[in-house]
């Protein structure tokens, strides 16, 4: 068993126009920089992207938006991106806003074989419009359906050739659930190690959820709000 591919270009082979992708990350933290750059080069079009955010104008998913590769975004927060705003207001881009916790749970559910679940989040708001609601134990809930994707693309700190992953800091965020929900999951890692080097007890994403893995290069890891105390 060897899931290692050479680089991002090889990893994204198979991603076609019109597919649905999940992309890990929160803001610019923990995003799969190498694969995004490869998708930008590949010019794959009409993509539906599921990601908590949509990057900024010149980094992350923003780079794909600049090239109009994205037909639809499913996200919880899409500020900080002027080109995104332009495409949305002009009708070139479709957006489905989903509460952050519901989005995370929809991905986990998709990976875990749970087609739908009830949550109180969004009850009585426009998020619940057109969805089944139900009273359970005296409280109102909304039925939310799970999400899966043709490809999930995640970024981890360390990984091995079995696809086992360890994330770092808050760069974990949506990556583990999206890894579960991809029909094919690509993991790019900062450090690729031999099988057996990662402590089995410390693995965040077991390799069963990952089909392709490679060590990325030249991580920029841009910081959106560099805030320091004296």
């Amino acid at each position: 068993m060897n899931k290692i591919v050479k680089n991002a270009e090889e990893a994204i082979r198979g991603i076609e126009d019109g597919m649905t992708l999940m992309l890990g990350g929160f803001g610019l933290c923990g995003i799969p920089e190498n694969c995004i750059n490869a998708l930008v080069k590949a010019k794959t079009k009409n993509l539906t992207c599921i990601s908590n955010n949509a990057g900024v104008d010149d980094f992350g998913i923003g780079l794909m938006l600049q090239q109009r590769q994205v037909k639809k975004m499913i996200a919880s927060y899409v500020g900080e991106n002027a080109e995104f705003e332009r495409q949305l207001l002009s009708g070139e881009l479709e957006v489905e806003l989903t509460p952050q916790g519901t989005l995370a749970e929809k991905c986990r559910a998709g990976g875990a074989g749970i087609p739908a679940f009830f949550t109180a989040t969004g009850y009585g708001t426009e998020v619940a419009e057109g969805k089944e609601t139900r009273e359970i134990n005296g409280r109102m809930y909304v039925l939310e359906e799970s999400l899966t994707a043709d490809y999930a693309i995640v970024k981890a700190w360390k990984g091995d050739r079995f696809g086992n992953l360890i994330f770092k800091g808050t760069a974990r965020n949506f990556n583990p659930m999206m890894a579960m929900a991809g029909r094919i999951t690509i993991a790019e890692v900062e450090i690729l190690v031999e099988a057996g080097e990662l402590d089995p007890n410390q693995i965040h994403t077991p390799g069963i959820f990952v089909q392709k893995i490679f060590q990325g290069v030249d991580y920029e890891k841009r910081i959106e709000q560099r805030t320091v105390s004296k």
Partner: protein, 218 residues
């Protein structure tokens, strides 16, 4: 009238030892600066961190360690890191004891609107809908009126809702209010603010608590 820091200071007095607390962006973030002596709380950042510490020094900055406002942060001893699904399991499951967040409008029935202005660019609700649905104890911190001087404490929210019937306490630059039986109940006045001013600036049904008092600050 309270300054933003005084609003944060007043909210901080509500904290109890051992609480897990989620502080929203803006005024709520300032609450962390006023945690009373002898009270230890754990700050939750919904992007996957419990035990958030102060902003880092230049040489501590780590791109892989940010808060929900995308600011670089640090971790305190006893911190833990987790996924977004686990983070919102905590929030949705009611394990966070207090959420403090801002709002554009609050209604006398406890409705809150803070994520969308029709006709303007929509940025998204982020985790706000999960936080107001998941936490029992929510304090809304906001200015009493908007830039046009119109009340933000309303009979009914005019903007798209973030959550229904979920807010029980509001603190503004003018005072502290609980929400009970379709009314804002004035519990505490800001120094220098009169009941008449609050009556004039509150559109929603207003009641004055029989025990109403004026806040004190050192």
């Amino acid at each position: 009238m309270l300054t933003k820091d005084q609003i944060a200071q007043r909210i901080a007095r509500e904290l109890q030892d051992g609480w897990y607390v989620n502080l929203g962006i803006g005024i709520p973030t300032l609450v962390a600066n006023y945690i009373p002596d002898g009270i230890s709380v754990v700050l939750q950042s919904e992007n996957g961190l419990l035990g958030m510490g102060p902003f880092p020094t230049e040489d501590q900055v780590d791109a892989d360690l940010i808060n929900a406002g995308k600011q670089t942060v640090t971790m305190l001893p006893g911190s833990s890191l987790f996924s977004s699904a686990d983070s919102f399991a905590m929030i949705r499951g009611g394990h966070v004891q207090l959420t403090v967040l801002g709002a554009m409008e609050v209604a006398e029935n406890g409705d809150i609107a803070n994520w969308k202005i029709p006709g303007k660019m929509v940025k998204g609700m982020g985790g706000a809908m999960d936080l107001v649905a998941g936490t029992d104890n929510i304090i809304v911190a906001m200015m009493h009126t908007n830039r046009e001087g119109e009340s933000k404490l309303l009979k009914r929210c005019s903007l798209p809702l973030t959550g229904k019937n979920c807010i029980k306490r509001v603190i503004t630059d003018l005072g502290l209010f609980s929400i009970e039986e379709n009314s804002f109940v004035l519990e505490e006045l800001a120094p220098g603010v009169s009941i008449e001013e609050i009556q004039a600036k509150t559109e929603g049904n207003l009641r004055i608590s029989p025990n109403v008092k004026t806040m004190k600050f050192d």
